[in-house]
């Protein structure tokens, strides 16, 4: 067989597995004890960094309190070890539980506030570590440190340094496996959606609250485990080990290795552990080096070393390896859709004193295309956002079918309302197929555990995800791009991708926000055809659009919005000749308008 084909057949997990086995077997390969100690320290730092990678790199949440969680885990295990509870498993569970609690508490502000507010709160938590240790100095030894931690045991027998080494490396390898399974699963894609934009996530039916909590909790776990291992390494804990320097080195390792990667954590941790953290001659320059690494990592290597390797690999793949054949999707591309009537009654919305919508009513029926047109600033997008549940209603009601529409965005999405955005919102680092599958995430619930262990329930959900994604990709005609990076596609293709993503959940109501802008003629034709087919299959389509010709050719019912209220509504034939619409929206002069103006004593004058 061709070498290149053979190369392609090697699964991606083979290399990390071999590396892990070799490292685990170090004691039997005659590797020195001092090196083994270094490996243990690298493993501990890897665990800390990988927790940060999950929350920062994948979920985009600046939960930077790993050092505090680490201290929590270490002192819990240390306290147990000093009081005769030496079983490593017991300590691990206790440390992990402590980590969960600390992780969730620090996460609380992040639930309401984004980005750096959470970052600062988690930094602050690290500042509190010495204070906490002082307050509980009878248990923790305060500034003097916690001594007298008995060596760890497993099932009643004390662990020798060699078996402790094996325990540490095996645990780290297992954790990396867990993380890998998680981030390559549908949950991993959902985290990336959250990172791209919480608004996008909720529009796809993903509960932002739940995802954030999960990110904080799962991101804290490895730090707790690392703490437990650290407590059992030297049998002594000192508050100095958990300072601001540690925060910076974890962050630097994460950025250097690549935050959005699993194995990048190992690379970053290894470099920092063997570099500035260890050699005493560097001690003086340690801060300078950390700072420089963070600057370089943040500015130049935005995806870290892992990102660098990945992009090199993609090049190799393109250049040397045959592209995997893409099988065309056979089967019904568009089964019948059960649409629902969307009705908006006397809706009112004001931002401060600015009345954006006043007494707006409209109805979109299944099997029809309902278009919403109007000049910029007339309130079209605001109306869509209100339908999706992003804004509070100041008056009126929105109903979906025979029920009032929920006011929480992700619940609206789960009730069957899907949308596209004026500016396409596509997460980075995922393929076209994954991007579409993410739209299917909320239709079927699978637990994190079933994804980690790849249980049958997870496998079923995943195969449905894949099948449905292929169906809609065939429908919009993007089958061939399945394995391409989604965020790097041209604008028109990204719009079609968004349409595909919103269709994959078989929505009752589809809201398209200026879906045709930026498309070339071919793509507009394809989109128009697609919209007709969706409506013909029974779906409810609401189209916000500036392309007047397209609207006239597609819509069954048109609503014209001007300055926050409905100016006119009717069929395309009625709207096309409606005098108010022509003056207000198209800026045309019509005899009626002219005479109206002249009777008011104003010269009809210029078109503006």
């Amino acid at each position: 067989m061709d070498v290149r084909q053979l190369l392609q057949r090697i699964p991606t997990w083979a290399a990390p597995l071999v590396a892990a086995v070799v490292v685990i077997l170090f004691p039997y390969l005659g590797i020195q004890v001092t090196v083994q100690r270094q490996v243990i320290l690298v493993c501990i730092l890897t665990l800390l960094v990988s927790g940060l990678n999950l929350s920062l790199g994948y979920a985009g949440e600046l939960a930077l309190g790993q050092a505090a969680v680490y201290a929590g885990g270490a002192y819990v295990s240390g306290y147990l070890g000093a009081h005769g509870h030496t079983d490593l498993l017991v300590q691990l569970i206790a440390s992990a539980a402590a980590a969960l609690v600390i992780g969730l508490i620090t996460g609380i502000p992040g639930l309401r506030l984004g980005s750096w507010s959470l970052g600062m709160v988690s930094f602050f938590l690290v500042l509190l570590v010495p204070d906490f240790l002082n307050i509980f100095s009878t248990q923790t030894g305060g500034t003097l440190g916690l001594a007298g931690i008995a060596p760890a045991s497993l099932f009643g027998s004390q662990l020798s340094p060699r078996s402790f080494y094996i325990a540490v490396t095996v645990l780290t390898a297992l954790w990396l496996l867990v993380l890998r399974n998680l981030v390559t699963s549908r949950h991993g894609t959902a985290f990336r959606v959250l990172r791209e934009s919480p608004v996008l996530a909720s529009s796809m039916g993903i509960s932002v609250f739940r995802m954030k909590l999960s990110a904080y909790a799962i991101g804290a776990l490895p730090a707790g485990i690392a703490g437990c291992l650290f407590a059992n390494l030297d049998h002594y804990l000192s508050p100095d080990s958990f300072g601001f320097d540690l925060v910076v080195s974890i962050l630097a390792a994460s950025i250097l290795g690549g935050s959005a990667s699993v194995y990048g954590a190992v690379v970053g941790a290894t470099i920092l552990q063997l570099g500035p953290l260890e050699s005493t001659s560097f001690q003086k320059y340690a801060l300078v080096i950390y700072g420089a690494l963070l600057l370089i990592g943040g500015v130049v290597l935005s995806l870290g070393l892992a990102g660098l390797i990945r992009s090199l690999w993609v090049r190799v793949e393109r250049r040397w390896l045959p592209r995997p054949p893409i099988t065309t999707y056979v089967g019904e591309q568009l089964p019948s859709i059960e649409g629902a009537t969307l009705s908006v009654d006397h809706l009112v919305k004001a931002f401060g004193g600015n009345k954006v919508l006043q007494d707006v009513s409209l109805e979109a029926k299944p099997g029809q295309v309902t278009a919403l047109i109007g000049p910029n600033g007339s309130g079209k997008t605001t109306l869509l956002n209100m339908i999706c549940g992003y804004y509070r209603l100041d008056g009126g009601a929105i109903r979906l079918g025979d029920r009032p529409s929920p006011h929480v965005p992700y619940k609206v999405a789960r009730a069957g309302v899907a949308r596209t955005f004026q500016t396409p919102s596509i997460p980075e680092g995922i393929t076209v197929a994954e991007a579409v599958r993410s739209g299917h995430y909320a239709t079927k619930h699978t637990s994190f555990l079933s994804a980690v262990f790849r249980l049958p329930g997870y496998r079923r959900a995943r195969s449905i995800d894949i099948e449905e994604a292929r169906r809609v990709l065939a429908l919009v005609g993007l089958e061939e791009l399945e394995n391409d990076e989604a965020a790097s596609l041209p604008l028109g293709t990204r719009r079609l991708l968004e349409v595909a993503r919103s269709l994959v959940s078989s929505p009752k109501v589809l809201l398209l926000d200026e879906a045709a802008s930026g498309l070339d003629e071919d793509e507009v034709e394809r989109l128009a055809d697609l919209i007709r087919r969706i409506a013909a299959s029974g779906g409810t389509v609401v189209l916000v659009e500036h392309n007047f010709r397209l609207v006239l050719s597609l819509a069954d019912q048109i609503y014209v919005l001007a300055r926050g209220s409905i100016l006119a509504s009717g069929t395309p034939a009625e709207i096309e000749v409606h005098p108010d619409v022509m003056t207000e929206y198209l800026g045309m002069k019509v005899p009626a308008a002219d005479s109206l103006l002249s009777t008011a004593g104003i010269d009809g004058g210029k078109d503006d």
Binding site: P109, L127, L128, L287, V288, Y290, G291, L295, G298
Partner: protein
């Protein structure tokens, strides 16, 4: 009363850091985490200029302002401009903070250095509490600079342009605002402010490298409590944090002061995420 005075002094320093954050935040929506380290650098330069070079007071202030402003401009150039997005900027500003801390430590060492105050060092008794002139000067500086900040941001075209940039960078560009110059200007001004404060903060805190990271966080809390981008907010927020810290340190014990500040931060964030003087923005898409 002495505890209150020392709380007000601490609060003044935090408020001044928060004000520095605000200057940059209002113009470019960037949270310059390294600002407190710039202030720390200011204290070291104040030490160098007064003790090593023995310069007259006016020159000390000038030197501090110029050098720190220059460092801040360098920061804007290497750590802010090439980076887009809050996460990236948080990483690079933390990086710059660390780098600055490292360099400062290499030059001046890790030991605290006493910066002599240019004014009287005689302790005063005001409202039954003991207070040093330098402490009164810090409080005065906070009030004056907060007032200037409010006057500029509300009353001048420059302030309105700053708001415009912060609200919508691209729209501001379209209106002919030199966004880049505004960003550099904001860093230079906040740097100069940090530098000017060096000779005043130094005598109070000593010049010590680790000052940066703790001031950075307390300054952030002051800003969060007062409201992001608000001048009066920085004033009130700073004083609140300072008073909480010194009062809880006095009555609950040293170990509780940071904890109480943290609790206050959590409470404000949960009850009023925009801070006392901040404005909510409802628009999302």
């Amino acid at each position: 009363m002495t505890v209150i005075w020392s709380g007000l002094t601490l609060g003044a320093i935090y408020g001044l850091v928060a004000l520095g954050y605000n200057i940059v935040f209002v113009t470019s929506n960037v949270f310059n985490f390294a600002h407190a380290q710039l202030l720390t650098l200011g204290t070291f330069i104040a030490f160098w200029a007064t003790v090593t070079l023995k310069l007259p007071t006016v020159l000390v202030f000038l030197l501090c302002a110029v050098i720190v402003a220059a460092v801040a401009v360098v920061e804007e150039r290497i750590a802010i401009r090439p980076v887009r997005g809050t996460e990236g900027q948080l990483v690079t500003t933390v990086g710059f903070l660390t780098l600055l801390e490292g360099v400062t430590q290499l030059i001046w060492g890790g030991q605290p250095l006493q910066v002599p105050f240019f004014g009287s060092e005689k302790v005063l008794s005001v409202f039954g509490g003991r207070v040093f002139p330098v402490e009164l000067m810090l409080m005065g500086a906070l009030v004056v600079f907060a007032a200037i900040f409010v006057a500029v941001s509300r009353g001048t075209m420059l302030g309105i342009a700053m708001l415009a940039v912060s609200e919508d960078r691209e729209a501001a560009l379209m209106r002919g605002i030199n966004v880049r110059a505004m960003a550099i200007g904001a860093f230079a001004v906040s740097g100069a402010l940090a530098g000017l404060l060096g000779p005043v903060v130094g005598p109070e805190t000593f010049a010590v490298v680790s000052l940066g990271s703790s001031l950075a966080l307390k300054g952030f809390v002051a800003m969060a409590i007062g409201g992001f981008g608000s001048g009066p907010g920085a004033l009130i927020g700073g004083i609140t944090v300072g008073l909480i810290e010194s009062e809880s340190g006095r009555y609950l014990g040293e170990s509780y002061s940071n904890l109480m500040v943290f609790t206050a931060l959590l409470a404000v964030m949960l009850l009023r995420p925009t801070g006392l003087f901040g404005h909510a923005r409802e628009r999302v898409v």
